[in-house]
């Protein structure tokens, strides 16, 4: 395969830099989209309940692992559908068993419970599937097919990740803005008691939020597994990056989460250019701490509103 050495041709020196930059950019967008989807999952539950669900990363892991398991019996699209449905059920179960029957609990207490739940899910996954890595096959092509624009190469799976995430976001937006159920959820999020006075069952809205979050997490897990593989502990680091992005954009603001996710992904990607890769994760955490210290409401969040929020 021809890999021309541009450096020997003076005219193309600048070109090479642009192509490298573009390659980093594409990598950054890939990471970023995944983080953004996890962050949106956080936001949905946060909006409905005020809880930060640490088990969000586990939904992604479950989606991927279940899909791989189902794929041995079903064709790919059905396997993915099955995995999403199963994970949604798990999400609903979690809410019903652990959250629903608590009477006016402190939100922090619930968040800690989700940490425990995340650990349990991880250990159950370990017991069920062992430590091996699993992946769905590439949706189109194989591990090495690429779409090349000049010297910039993108795997078609990346386009799948971006497009499916985009479609999810559009559907969610449509859901929350135009459907009755979606508007009910928003009502609940903004003023629980008033919503109940209007006859909206707050408890069901909470369950629905878990179901939705689990669903989008699972779908993300399926579409991203060919690129990143899943194993029983894939969920943990995703969760941390995910809520970094959620906070970066402003907790509860899903549109901002997309932008924040892309920003973080691109920053991480370019950091590899200048810093030892070993410290790449430190970038994400440093950004988290910086935002928390300087502007906890996030880049796009409303400073006044966040100060009024009760915990």
């Amino acid at each position: 395969m021809g890999h021309r050495t541009y450096a020997s041709i003076p005219f193309f020196d600048g070109m090479q830099h642009i192509e490298l930059l573009s390659q980093y950019l594409v990598a950054g967008i890939t990471y970023g989209t995944i983080y953004a989807v996890v962050a949106i999952g956080f936001n949905i539950i946060y909006n409905a309940t005020g809880i930060i669900n640490f088990a969000q990363g586990e939904f992604v892991m479950l989606g991927g692992m279940t899909a791989v398991m189902l794929h041995t019996l079903l064709p790919l699209p059905l396997a993915i559908l099955g995995a999403v449905i199963i994970t949604m059920t798990v999400g609903a179960l979690i809410e019903i068993v652990f959250i629903r029957w608590l009477t006016s609990p402190a939100v922090l207490r619930l968040t800690i419970i989700t940490i425990g739940i995340a650990i349990l899910i991880r250990e159950i996954a370990l017991a069920l599937w062992g430590t091996g890595v699993k992946a769905l096959p590439y949706f189109t092509g194989t591990a090495v097919t690429v779409i090349s624009i000049g010297d910039v190469h993108i795997s078609p799976q990346v386009l799948w990740v971006i497009s499916i995430s985009a479609v999810m976001v559009v559907i969610l937006h449509f859901f929350f803005t135009y459907t009755l159920l979606g508007r009910q959820m928003r009502a609940c999020a903004s003023n629980r008691d008033a919503a109940r006075l209007c006859g909206i069952s707050a408890k069901n809205m909470v369950t629905l939020s878990f179901v939705l979050s689990a669903g989008i997490g699972a779908l993300a897990g399926c579409v991203v597994s060919p690129i990143t593989y899943v194993q029983y502990d894939s969920g943990t680091s995703l969760a941390i990056k995910g809520f970094t992005v959620a906070i970066l954009g402003g907790l509860g603001n899903s549109m901002a989460a997309i932008a924040a996710g892309l920003i973080l992904g691109i920053l991480e990607s370019f950091s590899i250019w200048v810093m030892p890769t070993a410290y790449k994760d430190v970038i994400a955490i440093s950004i988290l701490l910086l935002i928390l210290f300087v502007r906890p409401s996030g880049i796009f969040g409303n400073v006044e509103a966040s100060r009024l929020k009760e915990f």
Binding site: I52, G116, F311
Partner: protein
């Protein structure tokens, strides 16, 4: 009142001694190893109880301070300064008596920092870090505070994991013993086992005494007021941010001291001591003992750490702590070791009487 608070400590001390005598009698002296390790972890618990229980500030990253203490003392006592013999810093350090020339396990000469000097340095650095981190972190509340502490713990973990000088993934080994006074040495040697047990639990008793005094003083009352209603406390003239900061630093120092001593006892330290799972464990122990219940946390912590270190939980170690966290937070968020526990549980499951039944 004064007699009461010291009475509990006296009983505790008696228990510590009793356990040692019983284990020796039953020929189970080796158990003291895991009990000693559990003792050092208990130091973290004491600090965390102060922070989480009395000041109401959650920390999901306290293993980070433990690791800072442990790694610093490990690094300083094993890094060979012979190649830098002529540098100014080294000669100055040597003059203060902080350095020592010794032989390592394989008979090679090493010029390194003395354990006591390393300990002091480690604690000073911890105070500095806790001060710098504490100010912005403690301004946050609820989730944001939890995230920030989680972030701090993760950064410490990534740094010790990624830094070659700190052994990267392998950690540091061949840490020498820590001679406190001639005749008393913190080290893992079998012959010194009983001695080390008392050193560890002696430190714990010291810590508990400190905590008890603190709680029953003006400071303690101020803390409780902060926990109860921070804004009201502020209005009454209590400098809440100063108190929170100082308690944060104190709890960090407890953790760091635990780290220093355990590292010398174990003879080594690895990145696993800084992991988030460790921090979560400490929180789980505080939760199961009862947020502000020091005795509960200490006893549960000792039992759980002892069992974990002896391998009773097998490969399900993490799962056990995760399970505890969920169950306790779900059913008994005030902890298990309370006198009114059963009444509370009964209330939770009781069928609530209808309005008619309640009216006189």
């Amino acid at each position: 009142m004064a007699r009461n608070k010291y009475l509990r400590i006296a009983i505790f001390t008696a228990c510590v001694i009793a356990i040692q005598i019983i284990t020796s009698f039953a020929g189970k002296t080796p158990y003291l190893t895991q009990l000693t390790m559990a003792g050092y972890y208990s130091l973290v618990i004491i600090g965390l109880t102060l922070l989480m229980g009395y000041t109401g500030q959650i920390s999901l990253g306290h293993a980070g301070f433990f690791a800072i203490g442990g790694y610093l003392s490990a690094f300083l006592t094993t890094y060979n300064l012979i190649p830098y013999k002529d540098k100014l810093v080294v000669t100055w350090l040597a003059k203060t008596g902080a350095l020592v020339m010794r032989q390592d396990l394989y008979g090679r000469d090493i010029l390194a920092v003395q354990p006591w000097a390393a300990c002091i340095l480690a604690v000073l650095v911890t105070i500095a870090i806790a001060y710098v981190i504490g100010r912005p972190v403690l301004k946050l509340k609820g989730h944001y505070l939890a995230m920030a502490t989680l972030g701090f713990g993760t950064i410490v973990y990534k740094i010790v994991l990624g830094t070659g000088l700190l052994g990267a993934a392998d950690g540091l080994s061949d840490i020498p013993g820590f001679r406190l006074i001639p005749g008393l040495e913190v080290s893992g040697k079998a012959a010194l086992r009983i001695q080390n047990y008392y050193i560890a639990w002696g430190l714990v008793i010291l810590g508990v005494t400190l905590l008890t005094n603190l709680i029953h003083s003006r400071v303690g009352r101020a803390l409780r007021s902060i926990h109860g209603a921070e804004d009201a406390a502020n209005a009454m003239g209590v400098n809440t941010s100063q108190y929170k900061q100082n308690i944060f630093i104190l709890s960090a120092v407890f953790a760091a001291v635990g780290g220093v001593f355990l590292t010398h006892f174990n003879g080594g330290i690895g990145p696993s001591e800084a992991s988030i799972m460790k921090s979560v464990r400490y929180v789980a122990i505080i939760a199961i003992g009862g947020m502000a219940n020091l005795w509960g946390a200490l006893s549960m912590g000792t039992v759980l750490n002892f069992l974990s270190l002896r391998g009773y939980f097998g490969s399900y170690d993490d799962a056990v702590f995760g399970f505890i966290l969920v169950v306790i937070m779900l059913l008994a968020p005030e902890g298990l070791l309370r006198t009114d526990l059963f009444r509370d549980i009964r209330k939770r499951f009781q069928h609530k009487p209808s309005q008619e039944e309640q009216s006189p």
